[in-house]
């Protein structure tokens, strides 16, 4: 059958029922538009957050920790025997990465990899009668700046002032705010080891990730070792890669080679990332529901047309239209609504995104943001369009099948 003829008939049917056609068109349009806008918004926040995580945190952190408790000598002595240990008290080991210098040297030889040592521990800041518990991270600025974004996140001061000022400390913006500390203030820092130091705030940083800004402080590695009373100890190796995707496999290799726990960024942020899995699981059904409702509109309009056009269907068949030709006409009607609705929906979706992009507001949650972070992806357009057209065709298929099965004799006889 000549496609234009089916198209011609389909179009005229739709134009004849202008109002119903518009309503079902609107359904598809809104479904597609919202799908695009909401996807752009949610994925925008997700991607922004993930890229910030990748940017701010080291891609891999090697910790002075092992995933499984060490095998006990008795287990090693009788590997095939049934050994049951009760009330085992493991040997007290000095915490810290043993042979850290060697590991550092080995890792530094790997191309596309930067590594920095750190000693991370708890501490307490005492200032103006307030005590704030913080995370004290001892770093070497020269190496650190290659591995994390701390230098870019500084609001005032420089990273090098850790070298130039004695007993210098850099605070997160949130820490400073809680205690009312400003730059150049002198504060007391106490460690669990009982060491107390008077330190000068040389800089503040804001990473945009609230947890970090509220707890992290930076000092020189040597100062941290003194504070924690752990001379020459390193308990973290921070690694940054040129290729972020390599973080997972490389972490596994490091773990096998050195025995220490190496966490890639995906694992460090697993809690947050898993929220996004849930978010997606909620988003897609919700947005799809809009499209499904739209499809009921299509089903409705085409069912009505089929009902109203019973006589025409009879006459088309008596003229020599095959069943499949009749089906084609009505499926075509669904497709027209689906395709036109999708095109308008794309336009409105795009306009919604641009409108949201023009809004500015301050927001603080997991991350800080000014306005909506939007992710514009042709995939959203393709998915929404594909779903809309496909479901429109499906919604049209059922009434179309009924139409094609009508018996022309019943129709012409009933009318005559």
């Amino acid at each position: 059958m000549a496609l234009p003829l089916a198209l011609d008939i389909a179009l005229r049917h739709l134009l004849h029922r202008r109002r119903q056609t518009l309503v079902s068109l609107l359904g598809v349009t809104l479904g597609v538009a919202f799908f695009i806008a909401i996807s752009a918004m949610l994925q925008g926040f997700q991607r922004d957050f993930i890229s910030r995580i990748i940017d701010i945190q080291p891609h891999i952190i090697v910790m002075d920790d092992v995933r499984q408790p060490p095998r006990q000598p008795v287990e090693r002595a009788y590997p095939d025997g049934a050994v049951l240990l009760h009330s085992l008290k493991p040997r007290e080991e000095t915490r810290g990465l043993r042979g850290a210098r060697n590991m550092l040297a080995t890792l530094e030889e790997t191309p596309g990899l930067h590594v920095a040592p750190a000693l991370s521990g708890n501490g307490l800041i005492h200032f103006g009668g307030k005590d704030i518990s913080v995370n004290i991270i001892g770093i070497t600025p020269d190496q650190e700046r290659k591995v994390t974004h701390i230098e870019k996140d500084l609001l005032s001061g420089t990273l090098d002032s850790l070298y130039t000022t004695s007993n210098a400390i850099i605070l997160g913006e949130g820490v400073a705010k809680k205690a009312g500390i400003r730059k150049d203030d002198l504060i007391n820092v106490v460690s669990p080891a009982g060491v107390m130091m008077k330190m000068k705030v040389v800089a503040l940083f804001s990473s945009g990730i609230t947890v970090l800004d509220n707890f992290d402080t930076y000092v020189l590695l040597k100062k941290a070792q003194v504070l924690q009373n752990r001379p020459n100890v390193i308990n973290r190796l921070k690694i940054r890669l040129d290729d972020v995707e390599q973080a997972g496999p490389l972490a596994g290799r490091i773990e096998r080679q050195f025995g220490y726990r190496a966490e890639p960024w995906q694992e460090q942020s697993r809690n947050v990332l898993s929220i996004y899995v849930i978010q997606n699981a909620i988003m897609y059904p919700t947005v799809s529901a809009i499209l499904i409702v739209a499809c009921f509109g299509i089903f409705n309009v085409i069912s009505t047309v089929v009902f109203e056009k019973t006589r025409d269907i009879g006459i088309m068949k008596s003229m020599g239209f095959r069943d499949s030709d009749v089906r084609l006409v009505f499926v075509m009607e669904g497709l027209i609504v689906g395709v036109v609705g999708t095109l308008i929906g794309w336009l409105i979706g795009w306009m919604l995104i641009e409108f949201m992009a023009s809004l500015k507001f301050e927001m603080e949650g997991f991350v800080k943001a000014q306005g909506f972070v939007l992710f514009r992806s042709p995939r959203h357009y393709l998915i929404s369009g594909g779903m809309a057209v496909l479901s429109a065709a499906l919604a049209a298929w059922l009434p179309a099948r009924r139409a094609s099965r009508l018996n022309p004799v019943d129709i012409v006889r009933g009318a005559g």
Binding site: A2, P4, L5, R311, I315, M319, V412, A415, G416
Partner: protein, 229 residues
């Protein structure tokens, strides 16, 4: 018309049509019938005598319970529904009591539909052919009007033009004058007679108007689904 030896335009052999059900109803019973090219046949009979049912069987719209219809020598007993549809499209023209024009299409577009469906002519040629048919039926001035803007007689003539669109050798009409006044009805019958006698088509018209039926070449009178001689 493309058939090499159309000795018979249409032949029915032992045609029977029953409606299944707890009490089966026989619409048409054991009918044998032949119609030659250029013959104008009227089918008459009281209401419920099976006139229309016979016409639908002859026009391949309905399938017989027993017996078969041969269209220009082709036995249609085992033909697929698609084949029957193709035969209707190319070789049979239907006219019904109600005009059954598609209301969204102009008269010209309505006549064009079967031509476009068959697809033998290009778009421009289809339009020319449809125009000519409307001219022949003296509807040239109304070609761009919608069916609802025409009178009953005019609509019926558009329907006849549409039935002729693909130049079919067989025209079947079911009470084509049922809704027309007697003068218009006579005009429509004149057209049918002309289609048979000057254009060589076979025309079968179902009617309950015995006066008009008498103007046909042959009359077939049905009672209770049987031919009464």
């Amino acid at each position: 018309m493309s058939d090499p030896s159309p000795a018979l335009a249409l032949e029915a052999r032992a045609l029977t049509r029953e409606l299944p059900g707890p009490v089966p109803v026989t619409l048409v019973r054991d009918i044998d019938l032949t119609i030659a090219p250029g013959e104008f046949v009227a089918v008459t009979g009281p209401s419920g005598s099976g006139k229309s049912s016979l016409l639908y069987l002859l026009g391949l719209l309905d399938r017989p319970t027993a017996g078969t219809v041969l269209l220009a020598g082709e036995d249609t007993a085992g033909s697929s529904p698609d084949r029957l549809a193709d035969l209707r499209l190319a070789r049979i023209g239907f006219v019904f009591q109600f005009h059954f024009l598609l209301p969204e299409f102009s008269c010209l577009a309505n006549v064009e539909i079967p031509i476009r469906k068959l697809g033998r002519l290009g778009r421009a040629a289809a339009r020319r052919r449809a125009s000519e048919l409307l001219e022949q039926l003296e509807l040239g001035d109304h070609r761009d009007k919608l069916p609802e803007q025409l009178s009953g007689g005019q609509r019926q003539r558009v329907a006849i033009a549409r039935a002729l669109a693909n130049d079919p050798p067989l025209i079947l009409a079911d009470e084509p004058t049922g809704n027309l006044d007697s003068r218009t009805a006579a005009l429509v019958f004149d057209i049918f007679r002309d289609l048979a006698h000057t254009q060589g088509r076979s025309v079968v018209v179902v009617t309950h108007d015995s006066a008009l039926a008498h103007t046909a070449d042959r009359r077939i009178h049905l009672v209770d689904g049987r031919i009464e001689r």
